[in-house]
Point group: C2
Chain length 345, copies 2
Amino acid sequence: MAAARARSGGRPTLEEVAARAGVGRGTASRVINGSPRVSDATREAVEAAVAELGYVPNRAARALAGNRTDAIALVVPEPETRFFAEPYFSAIVRGVGAALADTEMQLLLTLVGSDRERRRLAQYLTAHRVDGVLLVAVHAHDPLPELLEQLGMPCVISGARHAAETLPSVDSDNFEGARAAVDHLISRGRSRIATITGRLEVYGAQRRLDGYRAAISAAGLAPDERLIAPADFTEEGGARAMRDLLARRPGLDAVFVASDVMAAGARQVLREADRRIPEDVALVGFDDSVVARHMHPALTSVRQPIEEMGRRMARLLLDEIAGRAPDDERPSVVLPTELVVRASS
Amino acid sequence: MAAARARSGGRPTLEEVAARAGVGRGTASRVINGSPRVSDATREAVEAAVAELGYVPNRAARALAGNRTDAIALVVPEPETRFFAEPYFSAIVRGVGAALADTEMQLLLTLVGSDRERRRLAQYLTAHRVDGVLLVAVHAHDPLPELLEQLGMPCVISGARHAAETLPSVDSDNFEGARAAVDHLISRGRSRIATITGRLEVYGAQRRLDGYRAAISAAGLAPDERLIAPADFTEEGGARAMRDLLARRPGLDAVFVASDVMAAGARQVLREADRRIPEDVALVGFDDSVVARHMHPALTSVRQPIEEMGRRMARLLLDEIAGRAPDDERPSVVLPTELVVRASS
DNA sequence: CGCCCTCCTGGGAGCGCTCCCACCTCCCTG
DNA sequence: CAGGGAGGTGGGAGCGCTCCCAGGAGGGCG
C-alpha cells in the first residue's frame, strides 16, 4: 500500500508539463504562476498540457522553494472553545472559508490549550510555516500578538484588545449595538434600565457598557451605578447579577444584558421572582445566538455579523501577507450590528 | 550565510544541528525521527544541539522528501455548516484537536461548497497533499468516499451511511439512544407515544426510528404507523409533523423527536394547541443541544458524545495512515449515548 | 546596415529534508 | 587470531518547485 502511494502519488510534475508543452521548466512555471513575461502561444500550450495531464502543483515543493506556504492558521484558544460552542465559531470559520475559497490559501486550525503551550505557539507557527495568523478571542494581556509581531508574522485579531489597538483587527460595533439596544428600551417607555456586563477586562464588554451609559445620559435619564451589575459572560454569572440587581433596585423595568447566555441566567431569576417578561421587565441580550431565538419569550438581541467578520479578517490578513495596504488604509474594521426585536422587549 | 538564514526565516537547519552536535546530517535526522539505530551518546549530543538552537524541522522539506505531509483534512460540506451551527461542529473539532495534540499532525479545514466542488475535492486533496481525510456528514450517495478509496487515501467518516458501511466510521448508538428515550417515556406511564423522524435517507435517522419501534413492541404496545411522522431535521419540519400528528392522533401523550431542533418546532405547535408539557404531552429530543437546555420546559434529550466521536475519528485515521490495524479490528466505532432527563418528560 | 534594447526562454542552483548505500568499528565466533 | 556479523555513522542523491542568470531572437533607431 505504501508502495502504491509511492513517491509523488503518480501525479505529474512541472517537468512533465513542460515536456508535453514543448517548453522549459522555467517557462511552464511562469505560466502557472501567471507571470506576464510569456508569449500567448506558449501560455496556451502550457495551459493545454496542464489540462491534459491534470497537473496540480506540489505544495510542499512550492513551499520549500518559495519560502512561503500558502497557508494561514486560525488559532483558537482551547479554554475558550466551550464558550464558543455558540454558532460564533462555525460562523467565523464559514466566513474565513468563504474569503479563502477562490484563493490558493489553505486553512490550518490550531487549538491552543495551556498558557505555556500558547507561549510556544509563535515558534511553532513559524516553524510549521504559515504565512499568517488569525487570532480569535485574545485577551488584553496575551503574549501571543507581541511574539508574532516580533517575528514579523502577519496577524489579524478578532476584537480589539483596547482602545489603542495597534494590530489589524476586526470587531463589531459593540458601542453602537449596546446604545441601540438601550435606545430601543427607552423608546418602549422604560426608564429604570439596568445592565449586566461581561468581564470588563474584555474590551468589547467595556464598550457595551459605554454604549449603555451613553444611551442613558443621552435620554436624560439619571445614571445610577447601582443599576450596573458586572458579570462574566456565563449563565450562572448572569443569574447572580440579576439577583443582585433585584435586591438593590427592585423597581427596575428593563435589563440590557451583554450576552444572550447571561440573559438566559437572568431570565431564570426573573421567572423565579415572578416578574413577567416583558410586562414587568423588558430584556435585551447580545449576540443573537440560538439561545435568544428559543428562549421564552423569544429574546430581543443585538446581532453581530460574525460570518462577515470572518470574511474581513481573512481579507485583511491576505492583504497584509501580500504586502498590500488594505483598501481602507487603517487596518482595522468595525462592523455594524443589528437589533433583532422579539417578544422580550 | 546571513542571506541563507534570512531565507529560511532565520531558523536553524538540520545541517546546523548536525554540525553543532559534531555528527553527520543523517545521524541527526535519525535522532530527530526516533530511530533506534543511534548510540546513546550521539543521541544526547544531538538532542542538546536541538535544544540549544531551538531547532524545529521544516515541514515543507519533510513533506517533499518524505512524500507525506503530517497533515489531515477535516472536510465539512458547506451547505451543512449552518445546520451545524450547533455545538456539533466545534465539539468535533475539539475532539479531533485533542487527539492530534501530542502528534505532529496538523489539521486542515476544508469547506466544500457545491456538489461540483465536492467532486473535484478528491484531486484537490491528493494534490494539496494530506495524509488522510476526516469526512463529516456524508450522504449515502456522496461520490466522495468512493473517490478517496480509489485514490487509496485513508479516510474516516462520521456516521455510517448504511447498515453495510465499509468505510471506517464513528457513530453514536442511534438505535439504543432512541430506544432508551422511548423506554423512559413508557416508564413514565405514557402509552400513546408518537415519533417525529429525521430524513430517513440519513441512516442515523432510520436507526432512531428503528429504536423507537423496538421499544414500542418490546413494551407490548400496539405499533401504530400513524403515530410516526417523517420530517427533515428542521424546526419548520418538526412543527409540520407535529401538526399532522395532532390531527391524526389527538390522543397522543408523548412524542419522541429525532432532533432537538425539530422538538423546538413541535413544542411551538403543542403550545399553540394548548397542550401542556409534560402534563398532557411528554417530549423527548435528540442531541442534547443548547436548544434543549434553554427550552421551556427544559427538554429531555439524548446526548451524543460528540467530542469523543471527534477523538475517535482522529485516532482511527491515524491508525489507518500508519498502516496499523485499529485496536479493535473492525474499523468502526459506535459510541453509547446518554439520556438526559429534564422537565419535559 | 549595424548596434542595442526588449522580450522570451532554458535550465542551473538551490530550498531542507529523508532514504539508502557504503563504510567503519567492534566484538563475537570458530 | 582471522573472518564475519551487527551496530553506528556519513553523506550522496534526489523530492518538485522557484529564483535568477545567461543567452537567443527580433525590431527600432542612429
